[in-house]
C-alpha cells in the first residue's frame, strides 16, 4: 500500500495585484485502493490542489507538505513526480505540435518505467486501451491533442492513466464538457485502471453525476481553500440535493 499525504498545505499564485492565497491549509490522506472525491464550488481551490500536486510552476507552496510514502513530493521536479507514481489527468490537456501520440506514449512509458516497454505487448496494450475508450485507431498517428475535441482530449488523458499505471491518479474535472456517453466511457476507463492495479484516486469535480459511475469512498467539500466538510458517499448525495449554498452562506 502507498500513501499520499497532504498536510496543512498553503498555496498562493502571483497576480497583478500581488500574491493571492488560494489554498489555506489543506490536509488530506489518500491510500492506494481508495477513491476520494473533492467537490466544491468554482474558485474553491480544487484545481489548484491538483496542479500543485503535479508541480505546475504557477503555484507557490508557502507552507505545508506533500509526501508520497514519506518522500517529499514538493522537492521533486515535475517529471520526477510522474516517475514516482503521480498522474494528473488535466482539465485542459495541452496540444503538443510535432509529436505523435504513438511516440509520446512510448516515450512517457519508457520514462516512467525506466525501461522501454516490450514492443509486442506495448502495441497490443495501446490498441486495446484505445478500443476500450472508443478512441479511433488513427489517433495514434496524430499529434498529441492537436485538433482533438474536448471529449477526445479527456479520453486520451484516461488512456494515459490506463497505460502508465500510476500509484495515484488525480482527475481534474475530467467530467467537464463530456456528454453522458463519453462520461460513461471515461469512467469505465478509470474503474478499469483502479481494478487493474493498486491505485488511489483523487477525483476532482464540480458535479455529482460522475459519482454515479465512479464510486467514492470519501467525499471532501472544498470551500474557499479549505476542506469545509468530509464524509462518505452519502455526502455527495446530500450535495446533489442541496448544492453548495449551505457552505457559501456560512462562508459569507
Amino acid at each position: 500500500m502507498s500513501t499520499l499525504e497532504i498536510k496543512d498545505l498553503h498555496v498562493s499564485i502571483d497576480t497583478e495585484q500581488g500574491s493571492k492565497e488560494i489554498l489555506k491549509g489543506v490536509t488530506l490522506t489518500i491510500n492506494t485502493g481508495e477513491t476520494h472525491a473533492i467537490m466544491g464550488p468554482n474558485g474553491s481551490g480544487k484545481s489548484t490542489l491538483a496542479s500543485t500536486i503535479a508541480g505546475h510552476p504557477r503555484y507557490n507552496v508557502t507552507s505545508g507538505t506533500i509526501t508520497l510514502d514519506g518522500e517529499d513530493v514538493l522537492a521533486m521536479s515535475v517529471d520526477a513526480r510522474a516517475r514516482a507514481g503521480l498522474f494528473l489527468a488535466m482539465q485542459y490537456p495541452v496540444e503538443v505540435p510535432g509529436v505523435t501520440m504513438t511516440n509520446f506514449l512510448r516515450t512517457a512509458k519508457t520514462a516512467i518505467d525506466g525501461e522501454a516497454p516490450s514492443l509486442r505487448h506495448w502495441t497490443k496494450d495501446v490498441k486495446s486501451a484505445m478500443a476500450g475508450l472508443k478512441i479511433d485507431a488513427d489517433f495514434a498517428g496524430r499529434n498529441v491533442n492537436e485538433g482533438f475535441s474536448g471529449g477526445e482530449k479527456k479520453r486520451v488523458e484516461i488512456l494515459q492513466l490506463e497505460l502508465f499505471k500510476p500509484k495515484f491518479a488525480i482527475l481534474d474535472e475530467t467530467d467537464s464538457g463530456l456528454d453522458v456517453d463519453a462520461l460513461k466511457v471515461v469512467s469505465e476507463g478509470v474503474n478499469r485502471a483502479a481494478e487493474g492495479h493498486e491505485m488511489g484516486t483523487l477525483l476532482i469535480t464540480h458535479y455529482t453525476r460522475i459519482l454515479r459511475y465512479i464510486k467514492p469512498d470519501f467525499v471532501h467539500v472544498f470551500v474557499d481553500g479549505r476542506v469545509a466538510e468530509q464524509g462518505g458517499p452519502d455526502l455527495a448525495d446530500r450535495l446533489e440535493e442541496e448544492g453548495y449554498d449551505r457552505f457559501l452562506a456560512v462562508g459569507a
Binding site: 515535475v78 517529471d79 516515450t107
Partner: protein, 425 residues
C-alpha cells in the same frame, strides 16, 4: 489581389518581437543594418509610382525585373521589397563588388545516367532555365567564369547524383550550375554546400518534358559563410519537380528558389527546413509561377529558431496567371520559436488572376515551444531535455522524411540533434 501578412499565431506578444532592434511585430520595418531605413515605404514603390525603375509595379510578382545584365539592376539600398529583411552589410559585398574569388570546389558522385561537365558561360545551356531576378544574382551570373552542367540523360531511370560544393575561403566568389533533366529521366540530385565561402550562386534547373527530378540543396556551411543562391527551375510539360531545401549553416543564407511552369500538366513540390541559431540570418524567398494550365504546386517550409538574434525570413510568392486555368496550389510556412530573442518573419503572397482554378491556399503559423508544452510532457515523466527534443524532432521530421535518401536523412537527424544539444549548453 495580393494578400500579404506577417503571421503570428496565438501568443503574438510573446514571440520575441522586441528582441531585435528596429523590427516591429508587423515586420514592416527594414533591417536596422541597412542605411536610411524607413518604415514608410521602399525605394521600389516610389520609383514605380513615377513609372521609373523596372516600369512595372511591384504590386504583382509578375512585374519583377529580370535581366542578365548587372547594370539593369540599381544599387541596393535595403529598402527594396525583396531586400527589406536582408541585412546588406552582412552580404560580404556580393551586391556591390565583383565576386572574383575562387568559387567553391565542385566534386561529384554520379550513378549511371548522370554526367557532369564544366563549360564556359557561353554554353547554350547557360541561361536555358534561369534569369537573374535581383542584383546579387546578376552579379554572380556575370562574374562566374565557368558553369557546372549536370545532365540526367533522356529516359534514364533512378539516377543519383551528389555534388559537393566545398567553400574555398571567404573571398567573395560566384558559382554557376545547370541541372538538366532530359525528357522522361528520373532522378535525384543532392547539392551539398560545406566549408567556408562567400558566394553568389545561380543554379538553373531544366526539367524537361515528362522528367521526374528531385533536387535537394543542403546548406551545411561553416558559421562564417555568406550564401546568396538563386535556384530557378523551368518545369516543362507533364514533368514532376521536387525541390528540397535544408539550411542549417552559415552566417547569412538567402535562397530564392523558383519554379516556373513551361508546359501543362506539370507538378512542383517545394519543401524546406531551416534551423537558425543565435545571430544567424536564414532567408528563403520562393516563387511559383503558374503560367500554364492544369499544373499543381505544393509548398511547405518549416523552421526552428533558437538563441539571441536568430532571424529567419520566409516569403512565398505564388502567382496564378490568367492562362493558368485548372491550377491547384497550396503553400505553407510553419515556424517554431524555441527561445527568447529569436525572430521569424513569414509572408505568404498569393496572386490569382483567374477564377477557373481547382484550388489555391496559403497558411503561416509561428508558434512557440512554451512552458505549457513542457509542463504537459514533463508531467508524464519525460525530462525537459527529452521533451524539447521530442517536439523539435517531430516538427522538422515532416520535411526530412520527404527527402528519400536514407544517408542524408540520418545525417540531417544528427544535425538536428547537434543543434538541440547546443541550446542545452
Amino acid at each position: 489581389m495580393t494578400d500579404t501578412a506577417t503571421a503570428f499565431s496565438g501568443e503574438k506578444a510573446r514571440i520575441g518581437a522586441p528582441a531585435i532592434a528596429g523590427f516591429t511585430e508587423e515586420g514592416e520595418n527594414l533591417s536596422p543594418l541597412n542605411e536610411d531605413s524607413s518604415p514608410l515605404g521602399g525605394d521600389a514603390s516610389k520609383a514605380h509610382s513615377h513609372g521609373a525603375g523596372a516600369g512595372v509595379p511591384d504590386s504583382s510578382r509578375a512585374g519583377r525585373l529580370t535581366s542578365y545584365r548587372l547594370e539593369d539592376f540599381k544599387a541596393l539600398t535595403g529598402r527594396e521589397e525583396d531586400w527589406r529583411f536582408t541585412p546588406l552589410k552582412r552580404l560580404g559585398g556580393l551586391h556591390k563588388n565583383v565576386p572574383a574569388g575562387a568559387a567553391p570546389i565542385v566534386t561529384s558522385e554520379l550513378s549511371d545516367g548522370a554526367t557532369v561537365e564544366t563549360v564556359g558561360m557561353d554554353d547554350v545551356r547557360v541561361g536555358s532555365a534561369g534569369i537573374p531576378e535581383d542584383r546579387v544574382a546578376a552579379n554572380g551570373w556575370n562574374a562566374a567564369k565557368e558553369a557546372t552542367v549536370l545532365t540526367l540523360g533522356a529516359n534514364a531511370e533512378n539516377v543519383k547524383a551528389t555534388l559537393t560544393l566545398t567553400g574555398a575561403g571567404l573571398e567573395a566568389s560566384a558559382q554557376h550550375m545547370v541541372i538538366v533533366a532530359e525528357p522522361n529521366s528520373r532522378g535525384l540530385v543532392v547539392i551539398d554546400h560545406v566549408g567556408s565561402a562567400v558566394v553568389a550562386e545561380n543554379i538553373e534547373i531544366d526539367v524537361q518534358d515528362g522528367a521526374d527530378l528531385t533536387v535537394v540543396s543542403v546548406q551545411a556551411w561553416e558559421d562564417d559563410s555568406i550564401h546568396a543562391s538563386s535556384q530557378q527551375a523551368k518545369v516543362s510539360k507533364d514533368a514532376q519537380f521536387k525541390h528540397i531545401v535544408v539550411t542549417f549553416g552559415g552566417d547569412l543564407v538567402r535562397l530564392t528558389p523558383s519554379a516556373r511552369f513551361a508546359g501543362t500538366g506539370a507538378k512542383a513540390e517545394m519543401f524546406g527546413l531551416y534551423f537558425a541559431d543565435a545571430g544567424q540570418h536564414l532567408e528563403h524567398r520562393l516563387f511559383v509561377d503558374h503560367a500554364q494550365p492544369r499544373c499543381t504546386s505544393n509548398v511547405l517550409y518549416k523552421g526552428a529558431l533558437q538563441g539571441k538574434d536568430a532571424h529567419t525570413v520566409w516569403v512565398g510568392d505564388v502567382l496564378i496567371r490568367k492562362e493558368a486555368e485548372g491550377t491547384d496550389s497550396y503553400e505553407a510556412n510553419r515556424n517554431l520559436v524555441l527561445t527568447d530573442g529569436a525572430r521569424a518573419d513569414s509572408v505568404p503572397n498569393l496572386e490569382i488572376e483567374t477564377g477557373l482554378i481547382e484550388g489555391a491556399g496559403h497558411a503561416s503559423t509561428t508558434g512557440r515551444f512554451d512552458d505549457q508544452h513542457l509542463f504537459y510532457l514533463m508531467s508524464r515523466g519525460i525530462d525537459e531535455k527529452t521533451a524539447r527534443r521530442l517536439v523539435v524532432r517531430g516538427f522538422l521530421n515532416e520535411i526530412i522524411q520527404k527527402i528519400g535518401v536514407e544517408e542524408l536523412q540520418t545525417r540531417l537527424n544528427e544535425t538536428v540533434e547537434a543543434e538541440l544539444a547546443a541550446t542545452e549548453n
